[in-house]
C-alpha cells in the first residue's frame, strides 16, 4: 500500500506482512522492521523498534491517519488523495490553498501567461502572509477566488493549463 506524509509528495510503500504475539513485521519499501506494540490505558501505546521505545498515539480520519511518536506529529494520506493532477508541461494543474486562510491578493487573471516562480496569490493565515507561485510556465485557465475570500485547506484557487506554443498575451502588470 502506498501513502504519503502530508505536505510531502514522496511516496511511502509500507504494509504489515506478519505478526507473532505483540510483534508485527512491517515492510517499508524494500526494508523490513520488527515492531512491538503494547497498548496503554491512555488510548495510545508503546512501540518498541530495535530496542528504542516510543510512546505513540493514532487516529483515523476520513482521508488521513494521524500519528504521534513522542513529541513528533505525523499525518499520512493515501497516495491517491495526495496525487496532484499533472498535465503535459505543467508541474501542477491547480494551485491549492496550503492552509485555511484569507486570500489577500490575486495577482493574475484568466488568460494570463505566468512563468515559473511568478507570484499568483497571497494568502494570510495566523497573521502570516504566504505567496503562492507558479511551479512552471503555464496559462491561467481560471481564477476561482477573489480577494478577501476565506478558503479552506486544499481549496482550488487557480486552475492552470499548459502554456500555448506561441504566447497569447503577456500578464499585464497590475498597479497596486
Amino acid at each position: 500500500m502506498k501513502f504519503t506524509r502530508a505536505g510531502d509528495s514522496r511516496e511511502i510503500d509500507a504494509e504489515a506482512i506478519s505478526r507473532d504475539g505483540v510483534t508485527v513485521r512491517i515492510r517499508i519499501g524494500d526494508r523490513q522492521i520488527a515492531a512491538e506494540f503494547t497498548p496503554n490505558a491512555d488510548g495510545g501505546g508503546m512501540l518498541t523498534i530495535e530496542g528504542r521505545r516510543y510512546p505513540v498515539f493514532g487516529a483515523r480520519r476520513k482521508d488521513s491517519i494521524l500519528v504521534s511518536v513522542g513529541p513528533a506529529a505525523f499525518e499520512f494520506k493515501p497516495a491517491e488523495a495526495a496525487f496532484r493532477r499533472r498535465a503535459r508541461g505543467l508541474a501542477a494543474a491547480e494551485i491549492t490553498a496550503p492552509m485555511p486562510g484569507k486570500v489577500l491578493k490575486v495577482l493574475v487573471r484568466d488568460g494570463d501567461l505566468v512563468e515559473a516562480g511568478q507570484a499568483m496569490v497571497v494568502i494570510e493565515a495566523m497573521k502570516m502572509e504566504t505567496t503562492l507561485a507558479a511551479e512552471s510556465a503555464a496559462m491561467v485557465k481560471h481564477v476561482r477566488v477573489e480577494e478577501g475570500q476565506m478558503v479552506d485547506h486544499g481549496a482550488v484557487l487557480i486552475e492552470l493549463s499548459p502554456p500555448p506554443a506561441s504566447s497569447v498575451r503577456k500578464s499585464a502588470p497590475r498597479v497596486e
Binding site: 502506498k2 509500507a14 497498548p39 496503554n40 495510545g44 501505546g45 512501540l47 500519528v67 513528533a72 506529529a73
Partner: protein
Amino acid sequence: MERRLTKLLVANRGEIALRIIRSARLFGLKTVAVYSAADANSAHAGAADEAIAIGPAEAAKSYLDIAAIIAAAKRSGADAIHPGYGFLSERPEFARAAADAQIVFVGPRPEVMAALGDKVAARRIAVAAGVPVVPGIDAAEISATREYAAIVGYPLVVKAAAGGGGRGMRVVAEASQLERALEAAAREAAAAFGDGRIFVEKYLARPRHVEIQILGDNHGAVAALGERECSIQRRHQKIIEESPAPGLSAEMRAKMIDAALKLARAAHYTSAGTVEFLVEGGNFYFLEVNARLQVEHPVTEMRFGCDLVCEQLRIASGGKVAEFAAPRGAAIECRINAEDPEHDFRPATGTVLHLSVPGGPGVRFDSHLARGAEVTPWYDGLLGKLVCYGADREEARGRLVNALGEFALLGVTNNAAYLRDIVASEHFRDAELSTNFIDLFFSGWEISKPEIDAAIAAAVITADGAMGDTTSGGAVSSMPLPAGIERRSPWDGLKNFELWGARR
C-alpha cells in the same frame, strides 16, 4: 492613588488569558473572559467567572474591537482590564477608552504607550536618554528610504512602527527587494496592528537578542528584573528564551539594566514592560520597548520567584513596585506552535485528539490546550509555552529535553520535536547563540529516520483499528480495555492487512 479593584476583564484569548485569570483569582479579583465565535468553547472562556461573547471569529471584529470590549466590561461591571499581549495590548486608544469608561487599564498610561509603543518615537526617547540605538530611518517615503539605504548599506531590516514580536518585519538583502518588502511589511502591519507605518534599520550580521524586564509604579519608582536571552528566533519570531543570558558579563548586564532603567524613567513608565536590545560583541543597541507583558515573561518569574501579573495588578491598584530578591538558577522556555517544521513552518489547524502534558520538578506548561480543543486559522498559532527551571542552565536544559520528550499532541501538527532537537543539540548546549542560530544550525531540519519508521509502523497499526478508533473525522476513542477483560488481539485484523484497502 490607592484603588481597590474587584473585577478584571481579560481582553485576550489562549494561554495568556488563562494565565492572567489564574493570577487575578489569586489576587482576589472576579474575572471576566471575552470570546469570539471561534472561541465559544475555549479554555479561557470556561475558566473565568463569567464569559461574554464579543463578536465573530475575525479578530478585527472581536478581540480588536475596542467598543465591543469596553461594552462587555461595562456590562459585567469590571473595574479593570488586562490586555495580555498582542491584540489591543499596545494600542493607546484602547487604554484611553478604558480610562474614559472609568476602568483601570492594567498597563502603562496611554501617552506612555503611544510614545514607547511607536518604535520611531521610542528611538527618539532612547537617544535623548543616552541609550545607544541601531542606525535607522522612518520609511514613510520610498525615495528617502532608498537614499538612506544606499548610505547605510544592505542588508536592512524593515519593521512596523506599531509592531512587536517580529510581525511585519522583513530583511531586505539588496536594493531590488526594497520596494516589495516595504509594501508587504506595511500591509502586514496594517492587518496585524491597524497601523501600516514602517521604518528601516541597519541589519546587524550576527547579533544576540537580550532584553530587560522592567516594572514601574505610579509613585515614580522603576525596577529591573534581570535579562532574558531571546536569540533563538525563526523569521524574527522568538521560539526559545532563557535567563540568564549565557556568557553575559556582570558588567555588561549592569550597563544594560542601567540603560533600561534610564529609558523607563525618561518615559515615566508604569506596569510591566520590556526593553529589548541587540548585542553584538561588547556593544548593545536599543531595539524597542514592548509596553506590555511579554510572551516569555515566565522565564523571569521562575528565576525571581515572582508573579508578574500579580505585580501588574498591585501596581494598577496603586501599590508600589516590590523589592525583589536576587534571581536564582536558570530558566528556559520554548514555544510550542501549530506549524509544520518540516514543510516551511506552514500554519497548522485541527482538533486536539490527545494531549500528554509533561511534569516533574521545575516544569511549567502554560497552555489553553485540552482534548477536544480546536486550533483554528483565525489567530496566532501559539499552543503553549513549556518552561523549565534548574539550579543552573544544564539542569534547566536537561529538564526541558525530558519534558519535550514527554510531550505528545495528536491532531495538530506542531514543532515540539523540532524544539526538542534544538534544545538537545550541542549548539544549544554550548550556547552558540545569535539571531542566526536557526539558519546556521537548523535550517532544513527533518525528523529522524527511526522516528519516521516508528510513525509508519504506528500508522499501519492505527489503520488496522488497533489504536485510535475514530468516527469519521471525529475524536479518538480509547482502544485498550482494563486488564483481565477479554479482547481480541490488536493484531487479529492484520491478516491480509491492506492500508485503506489497496487498489492493485
